[in-house]
């Protein structure tokens, strides 16, 4: 059975790109445009990987996803992607603590693949 990844981004093109790469890595990608929908999906389904952007419209922030995941018996590995941080910025440091991997947009697809394999223990 294919592993399932939940991908959260408000940019439709970005969702398509991430989905295409995840499929080559053997994942079925479920895409949602904001944190609120992400939490709603996670309430009913189990995911093997979470990939999320940071700054998205909507009343519910990405931090809420991480708060929600604390209530899960087993939280999936999580990768956070953003264009708005620098390597030493406060925001990046925060997510480096919360997530299993961070990536800055734009990124090389190969770096994304490597990170997915690493956080999923496939590397």
């Amino acid at each position: 059975m294919k592993r399932k990844a939940l991908v959260v981004d408000d940019d439709e093109s970005m969702l398509r790109i991430l989905t295409a790469v995840l499929e080559t890595e053997g994942f079925e990608a479920i895409t949602v445009p904001d944190a609120g929908e992400a939490i709603a999906r996670m309430k009913g389904e189990r995911f093997d990987l979470l990939i999320t952007d940071v700054l998205m419209p909507g009343a519910v922030g990405v931090r809420s996803i991480f708060r929600f995941m604390e209530s899960l018996p087993e939280r999936p590995p999580a990768i956070v992607i953003s264009a708005y941080w620098d390597e030493d910025s406060e925001m990046r440091r925060t997510y480096e603590e919360k997530a299993d991997g961070c990536l800055t947009k734009p990124f090389e697809l190969e770096d994304f693949r490597r990170l997915v394999r690493k956080v999923c223990g496939d590397a």
Partner: protein, 280 residues
Amino acid sequence: MPEGSVRAGSKAARDAARMRRRVRELESRLKTLEQEKDAFVSIVSHELRTPLAVIKGYLDLASEGILGEIPPRLTEPILKSKESADRLHRLIENLLEVSRLEDGRLPLKWKSVSVHSLLSGAVSDMESQLKRKKLRLKLAIEDGLPLILADEEKMRRVLDQLLANAVTHSPAGEEVVVESGAWKGAGENAARAPSRVFIGVANRGEEIPPGMREKIFERFRQVEPPLTRRKGGSGLGLYYCKNIVELHGGRIWVESGRRGTVRFVFTLALDPLAGRGEKS
């Protein structure tokens, strides 16, 4: 003292005080403008990253064949678009890093680094560009070079920049030479173990006029004026290289002769933190 002289003296003192106030006001205004400019550069650069991520992502998917087979007539346009997107990416990152560098927000992550693996990695990433321009590459690294203490990622960006320059300015079919060894030049005691290494990147190309050899390391400076230049570039790459090399206790310069060889050389201290008490 005659009354007239006293009056003239106190007027001169008042004028001088007024001038000093004005200079302070202008300095403060200039500082504010600099901060506003840095904030603007940062906002614009970060905003540009998002659409560029989509452009680069789709181009990468296309060139990897994930979007389906590419008709042969589209191979070249996709490749060229990918190269341009990568250049734009480098420009944005350079703008951001230079702006952080200038206001002291670019911390270095020191670790022991092998010059050999640093150079091999940089050269291997440049392979496809070298191939496309039919350039030969000669990598000459002295045996037994000690490890250096450096920020590997930033040093890689310096090498990427110098290699990209060499590829851009080299005529097709020529040779690019990357070399490294113990620095035996100025400041080294020949009887002692070296405290510096040097790295050189050389290519055939147009001579850099003597008057420009220092200026090209200044911000936004290029050999050719912006409106007439034939090759791309922002004029930030070498400025970035100079700053990073100097933060590593080194020096960078260019050697250029009439016979058409351009060689960028930089030195690096084996331990740039020695005596600074910053060792991590």
